[in-house]
């Protein structure tokens, strides 16, 4: 753990408004200056390589349905398939680790105490933490996008993209849509990031925060798998996660995408508010 401690210089930790930019920059430095962040991104970058090599070695797409079945014919679909396959597990795990760390990590190192002694700085600190988390979500999906594209071009033929509706669009159009998918998935992770941030504000043990956040994620998954309670399914965190594929229709179907974004916003609002309440009322020694 000690090796990962990133030094916070007193200059980069201001409490006044005019140093807001410095605070955000410091927060980004904290998240992206860590070895563990880069390991997580490397794991995500390996997902397309794994899938691509496996499909290349097997020599055919087999009978796979959906995006995975199209990879061998068009490397473009490696981008979409990798994003789709990372969404249920790899991406949430990465977000859990980073968000669980965010406040609890500072608390465990004793740095949080310095940060929250100035009451005016607490809200701004939380905002900076959240922005850094959001940027990590985006970095995570963009890593897969870029890695998927490179591996796809190297291993497979790349060409015009067949949309779900059966229409064919140019590769540029397809890549633009895939970029939109990466953005949407990053946004889909914000609800989970909000939960992680809140849990992280409760404890000073980062590992406990990560475990609790991941437990919450698994509970959502289990609830979503029980058909008897289908009434509440539309309100679960991951219900709209697969809506990203609606961007690959002709024309894109926005309804579910919009609903998912609202849902993520709602989860984020509730848990961010809870984290804010916790942080601003927190005892300096807490």
């Amino acid at each position: 753990m000690a090796a990962e401690v990133v030094e916070r210089t007193p200059v980069a930790r201001p409490s006044a408004g005019r140093h807001t930019v410095a605070l955000f920059a410091s927060e980004l430095h904290l998240v992206f200056g860590r070895a563990r962040t880069w390991v997580l991104l490397a794991v995500l970058a390996a997902v397309p390589i794994l899938i691509g090599v496996a499909i290349k070695l097997s020599g055919s797409s087999g009978d796979a349905e959906g995006f995975l079945g199209q990879v061998a014919g068009n490397g473009f679909f490696l981008v979409v398939a990798s994003l789709a396959l990372s969404l249920p597990f790899f991406l949430p795990t990465a977000v859990t680790v980073i968000s669980g760390e965010s406040l609890a990590g500072e608390a465990s190192l004793g740095t949080l105490r310095n940060l929250i002694t100035a009451p005016a700085g607490r809200s701004r600190l939380l905002a900076a933490k959240m922005v850094a988390l959001a940027l990590f979500c985006l970095a995570a999906t963009m890593t897969i996008w870029v890695s998927g594209l490179i591996v796809g071009i190297v291993l497979f033929p790349v060409g015009d993209v067949v949309l779900l509706s059966g229409t064919t669009v140019s590769l540029a159009d397809g890549l633009f849509r895939a970029l939109g998918i990466a953005l949407l998935i990053a946004t889909s992770l914000l609800g989970l990031a909000g939960i992680g941030l809140f849990v992280s504000s409760l404890t000073s043990t980062p590992l406990a925060a990560m475990a609790a956040t991941f437990c919450a994620f698994i509970v959502f998954g289990i609830l979503g798998a029980i058909p008897q309670i289908h009434v509440i399914h539309p309100w679960l965190l991951m219900y709209g996660w697969t809506s990203f594929a609606d961007l690959l229709r002709d024309p894109p179907y926005w309804h579910e995408i919009g609903r998912n974004l609202l849902m993520q916003g709602a989860y984020l609002a509730v848990f961010y508010a809870a984290a804010w309440a916790r942080l601003t009322s927190r005892d300096v020694n807490g």
Binding site: G73, G166, A273, W276
Partner: protein
Amino acid sequence: MVPVTAVAVVAGVGALGPVVADASPDLPGITAQDLLAKVQTAKVDGLSGTVTSSTDLGLPAIPGLGADAAKFTDLLTGKHTARVAFAAPDKARISVIDQMAERTVTTDGKTAWVYDSSRREATKLALPAHPGKPEVAPEKQAYDPQAVAKQFLAAIDPSTKVEVSGTEKVAGRDAYKLRLIPKTDKTTVGSVTLAIDSKTWIPLEVTVMPRTGKDPAVQLGFSSVSFSTPDSSTFSFTPPKGVKVTEQKLPTARHIEPKGLPKPNATKPGAKPGMVKPGMGMADRDKPTVVGKAWESVLVLRGAKLPADVGPLGQLLAKARTVQGTWGSGKILTTKMVSALITDDGRVFVGLVTPDTLEAAAAKAPR
């Protein structure tokens, strides 16, 4: 306080948002007969929109039916969303929006294409020419819609109460609600409600309520709709590269109806949706017959082989109630909407009726 406020605001928007949007619009009063007459004169040159369906017939889930059967029964249960487009006289497109996949049926009047994105298979159907079609329109103009509406009401009056039961907003449009209520208590159908657009007189939504319970058994309607004619390119289909294409010819001169429009007669008393009994192995010579009238109609299938005791359907039947009567004995399956009686001599009675009505039908039906 802030988190509590956040929860309250989020819950409030989630719970009250739809309620506010569903306020019933103010529309001038109209009689059922006038409304029916208007529906017949309804004519649109084209429309496009999104249709959502939610079906809860209370059918038991039968696992292990096989992929093809599952794909079909899948449309009879649960919630589905489809994009529909229609252009007069014979262009239509329906795309069922599945999770990370899409099933499309489109026709430009000459050819029809069926495309399944998850299997990457396309089927081309050459449609037979149907010269009879253009004559339908003038013929339709020849009779008086008011008279037909009156006749229709007179015809269904003994079995059904028809009323305009209010107004509602469907897909952002003001609509009248035309409600059909069966007068008999032998059916499981509580009511059938059509939401009819107050400007184009096109039915926008169909709701079938069961006799018991508050949730609709079937709800099919537009969640958004536009009455501008879609571009003709909407209906064309070019099979994408790498897609398996099979060609089929339609065996009969049956023409394809523009399925995008919910037909007013689709919910006429007696029309029975959802009577699919896969895996029964029905012989062709045993044509299904109908016993009973209107809401009490029961479909009779003969020569059904009961599945072996093992297997999901066998298990389902093993749990079913055994009934006996002058007609013999059999197993009865009941759900919220559909009842089925399977007799030991291989007859199957299915209907949107109560189990007692099925037994009565079994007694009356010829062997």
